[in-house]
Amino acid sequence: MIDALRELIRNRELLYMITWREIRIRYKQSVMGLLWAVLMPIIITSAGVVVRVAASRVSGQPITGADIGGIGVKALPWAFFVSALRFGTTSLTGNSSLVTKIKFPRLIFPLSSVLTSLFDMGIAVPVLLIVLPFAGVRPALTMLWVPLLLLILVIFTAGLCIAFSAANLFFRDIKYIVEVVLTFAIFFTPVLYDAAVAGKWSSILMLNPLAPILEGLNSSVILGRQPDLRWITYSACVSVLLFWSGIVFFRRLEPRFAESV
């Protein structure tokens, strides 16, 4: 694990270049350019608004700006997670010519998918910052939690990407499984709704390591409240464990990559 990280630090220029390539290609190829990064979160947010409107009809409670702001705040990290995992899973198989022809730490591929998606999120954040005040959100000290929460999110996502990229190289149908799971995972993750709607069952929802992060972002940015530290700790532990075991798994399979790709 330490070796792996040291190797990555030694090859940081390569990680930078591969990420730069991904970003460059993604923005060069699409006519929409930068709009691309904003599109997914907008779609997710709109879906969330529809769900909320429907829910408020049933419950009789009016929707507030904070509700919609909350969806936006959760939509961005969710879009990041989905795109990183989608690109990350195929990052090794998609770069087969590099994997079989040139020697360098292959961890760079899944990690660059994460960084590329992080860049997309970075593009979308200013847009969100412009919109949020209209939803009645005021700057609060609790927003200082955001960097920590994002760090946990990145570690969690990277762990999954690393493990799935290696697995997909040996079993090519992993990517279809990932696609299907990602499509429906939004129902099991409090993105469009808050975990609290599940009432006494909400702690089951919170077992999903993404849930505490998203809920934490919602409370620190929108509600101006401190996130639930117990759940955040839980998320952080799961993420670090996943990241660590992902790297161990990846490194164990790495010698066989070139023959299996």
């Binding site: 220029e13 390569l14 270049m17 591969i18 730069w20 390539r21 460059r24 290609i25 060069k28 190829q29 010519s97 590099l98 079989t100 022809k101 040139i102 020697k103 360098f104 040996f170 079993f171 090519r172 149908d173 992993i174 499984i177 010698p255 066989r256 070139a258 023959e259 299996s260």
Partner: protein, 415 residues
């Protein structure tokens, strides 16, 4: 520092032939099958073989080593081990110094990025730092001769331009050990020359160069030492000329056999009318002899010969039938000999001869051996290409009156 740049100690690599599960959907039924029918499955266990079988050799610093062998002898696998892309099943590989491997020109180039962007990307992928690439950028572009196209996406490049840029990046790596696989077969002739010159300069600067190629001529020209690989083992190691000769000698017996029919090729030879073997000058006459033997009675056997150049491009083929010679019918145990006389109007290089036994009316192949033998062509003129047209410059002088260029015939070639 050690006197060796690279040492391989008893390196083995196991490959699996046949079924490999690469989807979960296949894996699950096969696990079930294996659980249900344990014994039978073991009898049908997937075939494994050694693609590298006990390989040991040392390369001194500054040495130029050529690795030759037939297709499937394990050359590329060996390079992938040298460069660390693959890991041996058993044995160790010690590398001293910075090793750069050029397994494929322009691996990692992205079609949508410009030449400039790809130079940076590829340079870093191959192990340079960005500041190194920046420093050498002009040199790289200049060497490739692509100044005007450097800001064009490489998808608009011709394959030659693409290869030139790729080679140029790799040639500016300044490694201690340079491993090259077949990459000089790219680009036009002038650039190939330039590439060989560059490699020579790299070798002269003290770097160790390991070179794999089908192009025996290039290997002979460039390497001090050769290694001949056969089915994953080293069968010859020594001065390049000797190793190449050994390779040519064994070429006959190790051609790939495909069909085992009632009649088979026993021996093939190509001999100059002056008695030359293995090496001919352009314009020589030579006889190709094929000896065949029937194990059971065989009807209407025709002999097909085919010549390939070093890039395995089919430069010539014909057959006894197409030369209006009637096919022969053989009884069990009977032998036949077929002889072609050819004028070798071939360009310089290595050529491989393939032989087929074929029945035309049934479109049936009896036997097939490739390469049955190989030989080297030399020429006294500096020409390139599969054909030798015996060029002579008959006139080249400045004209006294200046004419408008439009009077030149349209479609005149620039080459």
């Amino acid at each position: 520092m050690s006197e060796y740049a690279l040492r391989m100690n008893h390196v083995f690599k196991r490959f699996r032939r046949g079924d490999q599960h690469d989807s979960l959907r296949d894996l699950i039924p096969s696990l079930v099958k294996r659980a249900v029918r344990k014994d039978r499955e073991r009898a049908l266990a997937p075939h494994e073989f050694w693609v590298l079988n006990d390989i040991s050799f040392d390369v001194r610093r500054g040495e130029t080593l050529g690795i030759i062998g037939h297709n499937g002898a394990g050359k590329s696998t060996m390079l992938k081990h040298l460069s660390g892309i693959m890991v041996p099943t058993r044995g160790t590989i010690d590398v001293t110094g910075r090793l750069s491997a050029l397994i494929e020109v322009g691996a990692g180039f992205h079609p949508d990025l410009t030449g400039r962007e790809n130079v940076f990307l590829n340079g870093v992928i191959l192990g340079m730092t960005r500041s190194e690439v920046k420093r050498k950028f002009d040199e790289i572009v200049d060497f490739a001769g692509l100044e005007e196209f450097i800001d064009t996406p490489v998808k608009r490049y011709s394959s030659g331009m693409f290869a030139r840029l790729g080679f140029s990046v790799a040639a500016h790596l300044e490694p201690d050990i340079l491993v090259i696989d077949e990459v000089l077969s790219v680009g036009d002739f002038a650039f190939q020359r330039k590439g060989i010159e560059k490699m020579r300069a790299i070798a002269k600067s003290g770097a160790t160069v390991i070179f794999v190629s089908h192009n025996l001529q290039a290997v002979a020209e460039f390497c001090d030492r050769g290694i001949l690989l056969e089915r994953g083992s080293i069968v010859a190691d020594g001065p390049t000329d000797q190793v190449i000769r050994r390779y040519l000698d064994t070429a006959i017996s190790h051609g790939e056999r495909t069909v085992r029919g009632p009649v088979r090729i026993v021996a093939t030879s190509i001999t100059g009318t002056g008695g030359e073997i293995g090496r001919f000058s352009a314009g020589n006459k030579a006889r190709i002899k094929v000896l065949l033997e029937a194990s059971a009675s065989a009807e209407k056997v025709a002999v097909v010969i085919q010549l390939f150049d070093a890039a395995f491009y089919d430069v010539f083929n014909t057959s006894s039938e197409r030369l209006t010679h009637s096919p022969v019918c053989l009884d069990a145990g009977q032998r036949a000999e077929c002889e072609f006389e050819v004028d070798l109007h071939l360009g310089a290089g290595t050529y491989y001869l393939g032989v087929y036994l074929y029945r035309y009316d049934m479109e049936r192949e009896y036997d097939h051996i490739f390469p049955a033998t190989s030989f080297v062509m030399t020429t006294d003129r500096d020409t390139h290409g599969a054909a030798n047209l015996y060029p002579v410059v008959t006139r080249f002088e400045a004209l006294s009156e200046t004419r408008p260029a439009t009077l030149l015939a349209p479609g005149r070639s620039q080459g």
